[in-house]
Assembly symmetry: C2
Amino acid sequence: MTLLNENYLNLQGSYLFAEVARRTAAFKAAHPDAQVISLGIGDVSQPLVPAVVQALKKACDEMGRAETFRGYGPYEGYDFLRSAIAKHDYQARGMDIMAEEIFVSDGAKSDVANFQELFSSDARIALQDPVYPVYLDTNVMAGRSGVFSDGQFKRIVYLPCTAENNFKPALPAKPVDLIYLCSPNNPTGSVLTREDLEKWVNWALAHKAVILFDSAYEAFIRQPDLPHSIFEIAGARKCAVEFRSFSKTAGFTGTRCAYCVVPKELQIYDKAGNAHGVHDLWLRRQSTKFNGVPYIVQRGAEAVFSSEGQAQTRVVIDHYLANAKVILSSAKAAGLQAYGGENAPYVWLKTPKGCTSWEFFDMMLNKLQVVGTPGSGFGKAGEGYFRLTAFNTPQLTQAAADRLATLK
Amino acid sequence: MTLLNENYLNLQGSYLFAEVARRTAAFKAAHPDAQVISLGIGDVSQPLVPAVVQALKKACDEMGRAETFRGYGPYEGYDFLRSAIAKHDYQARGMDIMAEEIFVSDGAKSDVANFQELFSSDARIALQDPVYPVYLDTNVMAGRSGVFSDGQFKRIVYLPCTAENNFKPALPAKPVDLIYLCSPNNPTGSVLTREDLEKWVNWALAHKAVILFDSAYEAFIRQPDLPHSIFEIAGARKCAVEFRSFSKTAGFTGTRCAYCVVPKELQIYDKAGNAHGVHDLWLRRQSTKFNGVPYIVQRGAEAVFSSEGQAQTRVVIDHYLANAKVILSSAKAAGLQAYGGENAPYVWLKTPKGCTSWEFFDMMLNKLQVVGTPGSGFGKAGEGYFRLTAFNTPQLTQAAADRLATLK
């Protein structure tokens, strides 16, 4: 009799987006003429930019000719893309990241989900709360969570991020091995400063912990003094891995390309105390379980770094940031406390006093026909908050924001 | 101090292709004028067919326009592709596989590597020997292998496939939970008959075991009575998962698209004896750790099923099968025992008496300047065998075969 991985039974149902969809569908059925606008989903609306489409099509043609056809590519990605990433995203900003430290993949979600495989099954995990659910669920599946009770897993160290601490996680009160940090943050839209990151890097170095740093939204940072990468911090090469994506930077949610940076100095240990390079372990993992990203897609991603690609994708991100600004000012006009949205595509609202995240969801849907995401779906500390995203079209975002402003 | 997953330390170095490359490079350095031909690697040489390239480019254009742009797609793949697969590969052959039982992915390697996550960490594994290394390595990483000693892992049940048993694995002598079967086989090129598969399905049903059936090479089957799918066998819906790929069928090794079929009836158990659907478990795994295959690539894969796509890809496979025939007849002309190569892209040679796989490799390289793969690299029972692949161009394959025929 074949037994299952019983850790799967410990997963808490992912009801958040399903429940959002259910309530929205019920409302639409009852009000067929209502113009419901969704600012709920974290998916982009703008098409791929011309420089990317051109590169994709050129690569399709190459794949159709014997002289230029490509079969299996390198597990870690083609040199042309790894070099472009290292040069533009790191070396041009003064960071000593080499092309061979870049691993190209099909998504930051895959990387962030798979990376935990390298670590001991009893590694202690610290997570921001509220949090992107993938960090948590993949550790539950791996058996690191402990039992679920009173809304939390017993072995997970939660780091609450609320208005009270300006959405900045405090250092863990007890020892942990792996720390997931996301900045600009999903869902709160807050961004960690250089000083914040220095604090974390120093703690990780002192405790021989590893930081898994998710900077999928770094392209939304416009304030010059905010760090785009953890590798802007001295010492991070010895304690951190960074995850990035073309999904939000260049509209690749349906095109699938991302990368992670694994510095050669980063080491973890066996029980006997011997050090092992994380770079080598990740290469072993990727070469055994993954066969690389489509050549066509890698050429499309490379085009993001051309001067046309840079200019064109910046215009798209500026549109999304303009959307965020519109949402933010309408929320403030409505008398709501609103956070994020300045260097991030997410606006995080405090619900009015005494109103839960789901009650606010229902009010927004019924009164304004605007769909958002209840903060409680991202963790216990998200209760009393509500997420709106800047990824819809300018027209619909403006229409939703106009409705929001009438709330007062 | 962060500890690693010590199962990784139990992996045996994947020296096979690295050692092949090292010896080949050394030979070339010593003989710069030699015309070395590789029949070693399992990668395709022919470009994508015109129907696929056209569909890819059309999808690129769609991604560049707001009206037709696609963001995140369904985790399981788009309906247009799942339906095309179910219809052409299963229903048209009389199998009752539904579109919702198809999960589209970036590679059969990824699927075959990830599927083991659903099962208990002490599940007992049976593997054909010789074997595609991914089945073994991923179970080593998950801690199911036991210690390595005398060339084998203690907890793995090896099923030797040699000329003595016509490369047909015998049923396990002891209980196992998961059985990996590959037909047409990599590396031996042998194909399991309907009777062979019936024997396995009946055994799995009787023992409540699960068969992980890899039919990545089914498109190479030309003999009409050989099964293309395990779902041609009654009862398989209750005991099997099937993995397939566009890699060898349509030259997608660098384009990345595959799928697995998980029947709704397939169940596994928790320790309390409750049944759980594998389909639901796999959906949970994929939705948590994967974000789907590029829309562009799924449109390219769909085009494989158009009438032009079917005709064009068949021509390419016929070329490879003609290569296999050429290799097979030259090997026989040279007095070698040769297997496979008739409904598979692999020819499996028995090395001359007393000659190890690596000795034969060296002889082929030095005497003929032809590179193949030592059978011992695929497992203990592969010692004394040698793999040649049919994926090179017709010209180079003919040249290599001509050299092989001179061996006698």
